[in-house]
Assembly symmetry: C2
């Protein structure tokens, strides 16, 4: 589908589901980030879910988002149980503004909902010429190192760094060893999983996608690293904000779709010229990326900077349109009928 | 060896090699952090190397460390080519002081040398009741994702979070898939490496420790994550500070031991009660750790919080003494002879 038409449909659906204009805009922007850059799990696929939870009471369709400065370089954002994308963009905007004055700044988010693609908010920082770092927690789905139950969510860490005259450096990674989507893909293809990425009900690693009951933390034999990164995300987004831990969250998919989920999140912005001149920073970043992209690849491999794959995908999708999977297309048809709209 | 005697010997050796008192104290404190907590690669083993580079001109034995506030919440620390541990502790001390006022703060380190155990400085933040995050770069030794040359260093990321009435939560991780020490250990034992942790000269993964020419980034098939984390460390410690990139650093081991290495590093501190009350933060952290430690382990596994293994090791070593490997013991004897000291 043509990106602009898809975005317009998204705004119409969300508005029809009760969302105020800032909510419809932010949620659409975040989903389009996912759908354009190939992060389809956090793309327009979520539109149906978002429309449902806006109508069912879980997500406040017209929240009064408030900001409270807690120290010179820290602000608390209360999302008023509104959409996570609205909170994410507002938090990063505020962090970037504060960081202009303070060198760096952080915003803690409370009373939020499903965050969507963390990279979208980190990218927003880089677009404002700031280094951005964002993290959140999510429904328990990843075991601890040597653990045997779902404990942390896939707790992502996303960072973006502005690059003069180029697309930003952009890292958006889950702290799990593999995305659950990938497990589902292997299942539908009837293929074995790579080693040490997912586990069965006893926490033992399995290559059989049918047996997967939880994901492994990033790092294989050194899974304490992935579990530690998930913990860092959990502490920054849920502990320092007093919000729900991953294993306490109401499941994203229901059955309770009317109680707010009380999700936390965390956004940090830092001036790239906090320590050296803007020119020196820009020259340094250019020099680093030039060396990185020129670094030799192994046979049949390709060396890329974080984000390069995503920019290439976005260019291709802008040209050829955004692919919509059959389930999402069915949902679009249902939504169009419910709200008397046309599928783009 | 008895920790106190070892620390006293270290101070004597460093002083004899020309170090001023703050340098000898900081370097000893950092090495003892490594040797107590089982991080022997960054422990007292380094004493001989540090004495050498203090004498040979690479490291300034009596540096004039200067601090320059660059914004409300950011300060630049110029280490004057002094010891990396002096810079690391001073930077974190300054970040913690600034964060008391600002909620969070960062210090960029320039003109420094070998950093030692990153966890030592993160821990210093937690001991000052702050959340600490520290990163640095190092000699190129890790390939990029699908890369075929040493590009980043093992670029560590270390974080610590204070826990009331308990030891802090402490994560100190290299962004490589495996430490090089571990490769050496497998080599000396004649054993195969775990899958996807190290590569031969063409960047192809190998289980043969004899063939290892570089380490893989953390993440196996998802090595873009480890390479991205290494890149984040590289950007925060070397790009925003204008210091040398990993592949531009003079090798730690020489032959040039007289030219300063111009290493950068980065320290961040955040008030744990930046967003909620101190009581709520403490209760939240306690609740999180209690749940984590009670989470079931898989067969023959053990679930631990980041740092738990290190605290247990430190207790055991305080009781039974710190093991010293034969090479380090030989170096001690040589140092004792050179400086007319007694090996403890």
């Amino acid at each position: 589908m043509v990106p602009e038409n898809l975005a317009a449909f998204s705004r119409q659906v969300l508005a029809a589901a009760g969302a105020d204009e800032p909510t419809a805009e932010a949620a659409t922007r975040a989903m389009m980030h996912g759908s354009l850059h190939g992060v389809d799990s956090h793309g327009i696929r979520l539109l149906d879910h978002y429309a449902t939870v806006l109508e069912s009471g879980r997500v406040n369709p017209a929240p009064e988002v408030t900001l409270k400065r807690t120290a010179r370089a820290t602000t608390l954002l209360d999302a008023d149980d509104g959409h996570g994308a609205l909170a994410g963009y507002r938090a990063m905007e505020e962090a970037a503004t504060l960081a202009q004055d303070c060198g760096l700044a952080a915003v803690g988010i409370v009373n939020s909902s499903h965050f969507g693609p963390a990279g979208a908010y980190a990218l927003a920082a880089a677009e404002a010429d700031m280094i951005g770092l964002v993290t959140c927690n999510a429904d328990s789905f990843v075991r601890l190192h040597e653990g045997a139950e779902r404990f942390h969510g896939t707790n992502p860490i996303a960072c973006a760094v502005p690059v003069a005259g180029q697309k930003p450096w952009l890292l958006d990674m889950a702290s799990s060893a593999v995305p659950f989507n990938r497990v589902q893909l292997y299942k539908s293809l009837g293929q074995d999983l790579p080693p040490d990425v997912a586990s069965d009900e006893r926490g033992e690693d399995t290559a059989n996608p049918e047996a997967v009951a939880m994901l492994a933390p990033l790092g294989g034999a050194f899974g304490f690293k992935g579990a530690g990164l998930a913990g860092l995300a959990e502490i920054l987004s849920a502990v320092v904000t007093g919000m729900r831990l991953s294993f306490e969250l109401l499941p994203m998919g229901g059955p309770d779709l009317s109680t707010p989920r009380k999700l936390g999140a965390f956004a940090l912005a830092m001036c790239p010229d906090a320590f050296v001149s803007r020119d020196d920073f820009q020259a340094g970043m250019e020099h680093y990326l030039e060396a990185l992209r020129a670094s030799p690849a192994r046979a049949s491999g390709q060396v890329m900077a974080p984000g390069d794959r995503e920019w290439a995908e976005a260019e291709q999708r802008r040209r050829n349109g955004i692919p919509i999977d059959p389930t999402t297309l069915e949902n679009f048809e249902r939504l169009a009928e419910r709200y008397r709209l046309s599928v783009p």
